[in-house]
């Protein structure tokens, strides 16, 4: 166990160096969500009525989820490159805790995504995002974002382990990036026609976005937060189990 912690720390340090040496990955992760935010706030937002004064305040929670969805594509990409090169086999032929090779990628994904999220929030503040949230509410928001990042990261690990090509390793993220469009992230779901509205109201993004929005607005989160946490935990556990199974199959027989 101690060797698992030490090995994971060493390997996380290694992949964090990959990030600090290509800071563009953090910036490109933040660019798409920021562009969407600019587009929706300054071009389309004037025609969207969300029932609050500030559209950017309404929009930011959804943009944060899009940031995470685009950030995790790099996790599959980095994992895939490790598997392709010989370094993965080198690690596996060494006396180290084997699963720390995966955990290092997961922790790195968490750090990189949090960095991108900070950039997006800062741009949001420049564009007029305001919140009355206190420390407690902020911690709750960060907690939900961390949980969501972990859930999507384990999905990214599955993609990285299963992919046959570099393109395949990161392509899985596109549907995830578009999921927020069919949710309450951009417009209230009440305006959508029946089946679309049903989908939007029952998919995970809406619950998570609504929870974060209410935390920022200092409103009661009610049951929504439990639905949001439930989705995150279920996705996390299922993705984790599938990823571990794929990993063990790959490690034991390759």
């Amino acid at each position: 166990m101690t060797s698992f912690v030490a090995d994971t720390a060493v390997l996380t340090g290694r992949s964090l160096k990959h990030i600090t040496r290509s800071l563009d990955t953090i910036i490109t992760t933040a660019v798409t969500p920021i562009a969407l935010m600019l587009l929706f706030v300054y071009v389309l937002g004037g025609a969207i009525n969300v029932g609050t004064d500030s559209y950017v305040t309404y929009l930011l929670p959804g943009i944060l989820l899009i940031t995470i969805a685009s950030g995790i594509a790099y996790t599959s990409y980095r994992l895939f490159l490790d598997l392709q090169g010989g370094i993965f086999e080198r690690f596996h032929s060494m006396p180290i805790a084997r699963s720390s090779v995966l955990w290092a990628h997961v922790l790195t994904s968490l750090v990189a995504n949090l960095a991108s999220l900070v950039i997006v929030v800062l741009v949001g503040l420049l564009m007029g995002f305001r919140t009355s949230a206190g420390i407690g509410a902020w911690l709750a928001v960060v907690g939900i974002l961390v949980l969501f990042t972990l859930a999507l990261t384990w999905l990214a690990v599955i993609a990285g382990l299963a992919a046959k090509t570099v393109d395949g390793a990161s392509a899985f993220a596109y549907p995830l990036i578009f999921l927020p469009f069919i949710s309450s992230a951009f417009v209230p779901t009440q305006t959508m026609p029946g089946p679309v509205r049903w989908f939007a109201e029952n998919q995970p993004v809406t619950a998570i976005v609504d929870t974060i929005r209410r935390l920022f607005a200092q409103q009661s989160v009610g049951d929504t937060i439990w639905v949001a946490l439930g989705w995150c935990v279920v996705i996390l556990l299922v993705a984790f189990m599938i990823a571990m199974r794929l990993y063990h199959r790959r490690v034991s027989r390759a």
Binding site: H18, G86, R90, A254
Partner: protein
């Protein structure tokens, strides 16, 4: 003397394809053993099984006295693998790669280990450059240097010179020769006959999933009709011309530093 690598009746099939069909190999401590074979002969499969990356279907193998089945962790403590593709981190510098492996082997003073190996493998000047800027030969040398961290008793080198230019190949040969001189047991796979001839104490030929011959170079020579004496004008080989023109230092006498067969 007990063998450092002892393989008995090793079998492995991938689906319908029988890759290894009962391989027996014994490698004495401190020797260089070359596994020779064409592409697809099963050399890599064999190395991956011995390096605990792959499970054999049947047969048994011991490395440094530890069984692959029961004591995989101890086997991993005893070995180091340099696979067919340089197992280095392209983004990190040469020094960082070495420190990474030293840390993962839980060794004290990783910095000193790294500096020592950088000097030994002629990479001191390139130590702070990202590996992506290295030549093929430098990358391979770093790869081998990484394999030596923690002084493993056995080093597996899977086609260490495939894809290298002549200079890179000589650099790697020198590294392997030094390894053997320091007492490490080396199992080397190669498809180049001259490489086995230069480096190996014993040579085995893997063909169609079985070892068809196993012996010292001198023993293998006796399998053929005795040498005839012919007088032939000695023309420089293209390799000698290339190395002469490009002015590679010491490159012209690889044979002198290599261990000749110890019969």
């Amino acid at each position: 003397m007990t063998a450092m690598i002892e393989v008995v009746g090793l079998r492995k099939a991938f689906g319908e394809v029988d890759v290894l069909r009962g391989v027996d190999v014994s490698v004495a401590p401190g020797t260089v053993f070359a596994l020779l074979g064409a592409n697809g002969a099963g050399k890599t499969t064999m190395v991956r099984i011995l390096a605990t990356l792959l499970k054999a279907d049947a047969g048994s193998a011991r490395v440094n006295g530890f069984s692959l089945d029961g004591d995989a962790a101890q086997v991993r403590e005893s070995i180091s693998l340099t696979g067919q593709f340089a197992a280095v981190d392209e983004v990190l510098t040469g020094r960082e790669n070495l420190i990474l492996i030293a840390r993962l082997r839980h060794l004290p003073a990783p910095q000193e280990i790294a500096d020592n190996l950088l000097g030994r493998f002629g990479l001191a000047d390139a130590a702070s450059r990202p590996v992506s800027t290295y030549s093929g030969g430098m990358r391979r040398r770093l790869d081998i240097a990484m394999s030596l961290i923690g002084d493993p008793a056995v080093v597996f080198l899977d086609e260490p010179t495939t894809g290298l230019d002549p200079e890179g190949r000589l650099e790697v040969w020198r590294a392997i020769t030094e390894l053997a001189a320091a007492g490490t047991t080396v199992l080397l796979t190669t498809q180049y006959l001259d490489e086995a001839e230069q480096l190996a104490d014993r040579i085995a030929i893997l063909h169609d999933g079985v070892i068809i011959v196993d012996g010292t170079l001198a023993e293998l020579r006796t399998l053929l009709p005795p040498a005839k004496v012919e007088y032939v004008e000695k023309q420089p080989s293209l390799e000698e011309i290339f190395l002469h023109l490009t002015g590679t230092p010491n490159a012209a006498e690889p044979a002198e530093v290599s261990p000749q067969e110890q019969s």
